[in-house]
Symmetry: C2
Subunit: 574 residues, 2 copies
Amino acid sequence: MDNLNGHALRKMSIEELSGLCEELRGKIKDAVISNGGHLSSNLGMVELTVALHYVFDFPRDKVVFDVGHQCYTHKLLSGRESGFPTLRKRGGLSGFPKREESAYDCYNTGHAGTSVSAALGIAKARDLAGDDYNVIAVIGDGSFNNGLVYEAFNSLKPLGTNILVIINDNGMSISPTVGSMHEYLEVLSADAEEQHHKTRRADIFEKFGFEYDGVYDGNDIAAMIDVLTGIKAKLKDRSVILHVLTKKGKGYSFCEDNPEATHGIGGKQSAACVEYSSVLGEKLCELAQKDDKIVAVTAAMTGSLGLSDFFEKFPDRAMDVGICEEHATILCAAMAAQGLKPYYAVYSTFLQRSFDEIVIDICSQNLPVTLCIDRAGISGADGETHQGVFDLSFLSFIPNMTVAVPKDKNEFAAMIEFSATFGGPLAIRYPRACTHDFGSVMPIVAGTWEKLSHGDGRVAVLACGERAIACAVHAAEKASAGGIAVSVINARFVKPLDERMLSSFSEGLIVTVEDNMLAGGFGSMIAEYFSDSGKRVKIFAYRDSFIEQGGVEELMNDYGLNADDIAEYILKSV
Amino acid sequence: MDNLNGHALRKMSIEELSGLCEELRGKIKDAVISNGGHLSSNLGMVELTVALHYVFDFPRDKVVFDVGHQCYTHKLLSGRESGFPTLRKRGGLSGFPKREESAYDCYNTGHAGTSVSAALGIAKARDLAGDDYNVIAVIGDGSFNNGLVYEAFNSLKPLGTNILVIINDNGMSISPTVGSMHEYLEVLSADAEEQHHKTRRADIFEKFGFEYDGVYDGNDIAAMIDVLTGIKAKLKDRSVILHVLTKKGKGYSFCEDNPEATHGIGGKQSAACVEYSSVLGEKLCELAQKDDKIVAVTAAMTGSLGLSDFFEKFPDRAMDVGICEEHATILCAAMAAQGLKPYYAVYSTFLQRSFDEIVIDICSQNLPVTLCIDRAGISGADGETHQGVFDLSFLSFIPNMTVAVPKDKNEFAAMIEFSATFGGPLAIRYPRACTHDFGSVMPIVAGTWEKLSHGDGRVAVLACGERAIACAVHAAEKASAGGIAVSVINARFVKPLDERMLSSFSEGLIVTVEDNMLAGGFGSMIAEYFSDSGKRVKIFAYRDSFIEQGGVEELMNDYGLNADDIAEYILKSV
């Protein structure tokens, strides 16, 4: 299959292509079941991708996959089949498009809604170079809700260039797609069943300068080749939107029946553990029962954030706004301005989209919105675009913000309880899995830390969050074996710092540990605190580079968080 | 006028109301000419705002002004007339809506596109509280291009609430509005001239669940009262978009003829000086003449960023995408991925919107996009939502990013020249005005600093950017008078740091100065660098609070950057 390219595909009959599709499906399923990854979305994309490779001339023509997790077939058809078993492994093939990996990947994606903007930029560069290749954006109906798409559509005419946008409509984000644009796509689809597609029009898209063509069965390989061939001939003169319906999970009944659960699945190696998200869901339901001011907002991933029960129990007070992280943030701020108590649950990496709204809408108005930041720290196999390692850095310098980091699920539950009566912006960040239990929880007061162990007065290790504390405790054991008893502190608030405790340290060496970038993170605030004091501060955090895909523990280890290095540093420094 | 409220307005005849409008216009003009501020946009909004206060019952009803700089009439009609001469002054009335200032301001704005999301949040809170007041968003056609509006529209139906959105269409952002949505608004307006408005429909908006009503003359007070009265009666049952045309600069021919130049004007006290933006424009034209890979992108403020000439000379290579900072960022990344050399010019505060795209699209792909960040540091009279004091903090922890800060316009020109052959993501941040000249420019090499003066080996002052350097030089003179000769360093790259120079310092006390927040900024990186060294580091930067409106120098002084404090610290610490 590594020798398969467009040229080879074009020699195959429809029957042979259908057989190839089944073969591709098998390879995708095998790799994902073994390594984890995005299953249902890729199963739905097989025929469409084969047809794209049949009709277009990659890598001369360019295709941008929105979000990018649906690119597996594209990888298999672009010389990467032999590497496919390494999918999402350390050093292996990425689960997303990667320019570094293949000339067939022209633009890296990972966050939603960027494909149309990127396709326009590529097309504009093509025009300026006097070239004439085709540029295609493939975007799901979930991503299609993102405001970036509207911004890009708005500039199609002013940019004066031509692209093809394929709407891959499977009715799902990670959760079922919501919103009026989705409803509109559904109307178009319903029309399609009643009349021949050639007579249909979608005036919204035409107003932005696109010719609209749809709705087609994206899992029908012959139809896809046919319609793409027709469109390809037009792309010199105009921009086209092709609307296709695909079946998420296509070909595997379990996936077809459970598209949300099989959107992304963990690899074989996933350990059984409690997820912080389930603690959030449980605790928030409990609080919401007592306090009708509590509302919850998500951006298209209710289930994986633990809020399915909340959404069922309190439908009026639960809002999934689709993949619209910025809008979600403002909605929370505005509800808080009117006296409600909003919780915005979101993955750390996607919260980056809300940065400006956190500064301006939430913090400059000092509103009591609670950000429940899941998948914080290294998230693992999704790689560079999904690591949640920037949040401490981009939240801690925002005035009025309080940043909490629980040591374990019990402290997390206590923090959620604390948040219910807290009167300002609050961020609580936590990884996916809770695998430790650090004992009883000291009452939560903003800006207070907890001493987990008392040392001999020479070294204090300040760690925030479960993973860092586990690392610190382990390092302390090793240091103790080497003759140095260190104090270990649960620095459960990164902002404000516990200045009372900080000012009480007699230790001359302060070591900090965090599951975050070094620059701008917890340790750098400690370094700043002690900068004029004569104390030495040593920071263990991630150095200045993007963190690739891999296992959480191996990445933490390799990028700067491991007990051996910390213990070694302590032993040689005292 | 401080006693004017809706009740009083409703007793006035149309003639009296027209007279009032002229009176309001005079007050706005007087205050803006004296204090600086947004002139043309406010002149255009007078009749519409008077009509809103006539028809609706504020503050029980709620109005959110998008961006917010068009709220002056609203302020004059809500008990703030006597304070109006303090507009935009330190301690005076804000030029934007402020909840802290009046119950009539229900939601603070400052950045574009947030009003519809905020109105939906307020309306949702109203519904949950069982209340029945009206919620209105007033949004200009410029802001209407922003993706947030689409995200909010998309969730109108799922949220199941009712709001009124007023599109205040004056054909302008700060620059003339661009894009297909604007073109569509123009089509609706053209239709309006040909047929009676009642028969018109705008199916785009209807698909999102709005009834559309337009187009009306927003400067016709009688018509506005009439149409708003009609719409108010409907708002219990549905959401409505009211489309009105207003004349930017209305009532003053100079403003009407020069809406871009009079959008915002400086106060009387503005000193004559060179603007960094004009250096950017000149230099970029010069480089673009030689290198046809250079392209420039702006988000609706081409003129104020100095790029008008570039846009005239290189129309194919110049793109104003409207108020779409995120889309602009991705467009640049994609063009860079295809070998172009994009420059994205933007105000520091608005770059916050692009944070995620800077991380993911530009930096994780390590693409040679140059961010030209204007109005960095304290920007002054626009207050909390417009200070450019976060950029060093939110850029410096992003891997692959290089951050440059010129000492003056000559070094800025050299940095622009340097950028043309630089192969990775580069941010150059500068304030609006260049008022110093620090002599000859040392050749620009990434991560190299310049010693401006040599001290006696006890104290080194590291400063980045013109304002900080001016402060440092001044402090050095004072310290010298006190018997301590300090070294002053032009730390022109905040990332990477000049580690060669840092490691060569014999000085035991390092003082840093920057026009940025303390947390995560330049000084905190220096503190981290020396954290394990025994050297003392003292950081002068802005402490953890939002910086209010006022004069640039008085704010710098009061919030932590002044030569006296620095000199005093040095003299007492050595």
